[in-house]
């Protein structure tokens, strides 16, 4: 099967700002993404857990596959967002079938 190179964006953010980040992805031209739940985490601001009572603090992991250009544009927008809001993003290479969909 012929595969083509694309970029996978993975974004970890608080549930509270999910809608906003999805809007960035949309504006950057990302055509699809999937949001995964997470249970707990550790970082420079200490630990959090989905068992806590604070709805907004739970993290979501957004997985989005896109072309390199679109991923770069999303990254630019996220970088300035992360100046105010906590969150991390990482990028990696993936190969996909039917590249015209991404």
């Amino acid at each position: 099967m012929q595969t083509t190179g694309r970029k996978k964006l993975e974004i970890i953010i608080e549930a509270t700002v999910l809608r906003r980040v999805e809007q960035f992805l949309d504006e950057a031209g990302v055509r699809g993404w999937t949001v995964l739940p997470s249970i707990e985490g550790h970082g420079s601001h200490g630990d959090w857990s989905s068992g806590d009572f604070t709805p907004g603090q739970e993290r979501r992991l957004i997985v989005a596959v896109a072309t390199s250009d679109v991923a770069q544009r999303a990254l630019d927008r996220l970088a300035s967002f992360f100046a105010d809001y906590p969150g991390i993003v990482f990028l990696s290479d993936v190969e996909v079938l039917r590249p015209e969909r991404f």
Binding site: E14, T16, V17, R19, R20, H45, G46, D47, W48, S49, S50, G51, D52, F53, T54, P55, G56, Q57, F81, D84, Y85, P86
Partner: protein
Amino acid sequence: MLDSLQLALTNLLAPAVLFFLLGFGAGWLRSDLTVPESAAKTLALVLMLSIGFKGGVEASKAGLSQDFASAATAGVALSFGIPVLGFFVLRAISALDRATAAATAAHYGSVSIVTFVAGTEFLRASGLQFGGYMVAVVALMETPAILSALLLAGSGAAGRQGLRGELIREVALNGSVVVLIGSFLIGAISGSAGMAKLEVFVGPVFQGVLVLFLLDMGLVAARRLKAARSLTPALIAFALVMPLVSCGLGLAISLALGLGAADAAVLAILAASASYIAVPAAMRIALPDADPGVYLTLSLAITFPFNLVVGIPLYTAAAQAMIG
């Protein structure tokens, strides 16, 4: 006095308080006991739906009264005012940054619904009859504190990042406020016909939901206390003394507005209680720099247990002494 001690002991031996202590002990000893996250959220929803509905039915029976207007005025004033006091105290006694101090103060101006529930259980056990409209006062007290905090902190992040919509939703349309007010109205509209259907659910079933939820709160509070990294003696003192001050303010304003002893006791309990659901959610959007390790630990792991075990009987006794 002896009577108050007796009642305080009764409070301590209520299943709800004992289950909280069980959860706290299990969490402290790092037992693997957990209440699934989605169950805890559902239990919280059932608690809010039940107290809203019961309050609405009672309020519809009693009709609107001058007392409701007085209690509502008092509640809103406390919710606006307490954060201002809290903020300046925190800045004076600790090294907290502006955002964290404002966010923490907001928690103390707003209210804890479970503290309210435990308080009303205690009042009923003590034979004190408060107004059904106090549930509406709970809902009214949830959000003004958030607005105070935003003014104190001079928030900018939500504005800069186009999160005004999210912020408004968190402040005005957050789940607990919507369910509380909505269920109150539904109770008021469907009255005793509605109550006939939901009686068992909002009564005896609610009692079981309450002990399960308190078991979970104990677990979470203990785990948070163990994981706390930024607690100082001054902050701990704040979490123990601020409720007493707020109780005093609540009683003073109740006296000024001529509320009865039972309503005054509820108001004092609400004033002394600190939010741990609605306010933190709003703070993650409005003041993302504020440290949740401070405000959640103080409100959930220190003030809540203090109010549940010691505060509620104390504030009630004070209300009876001053007003009763």
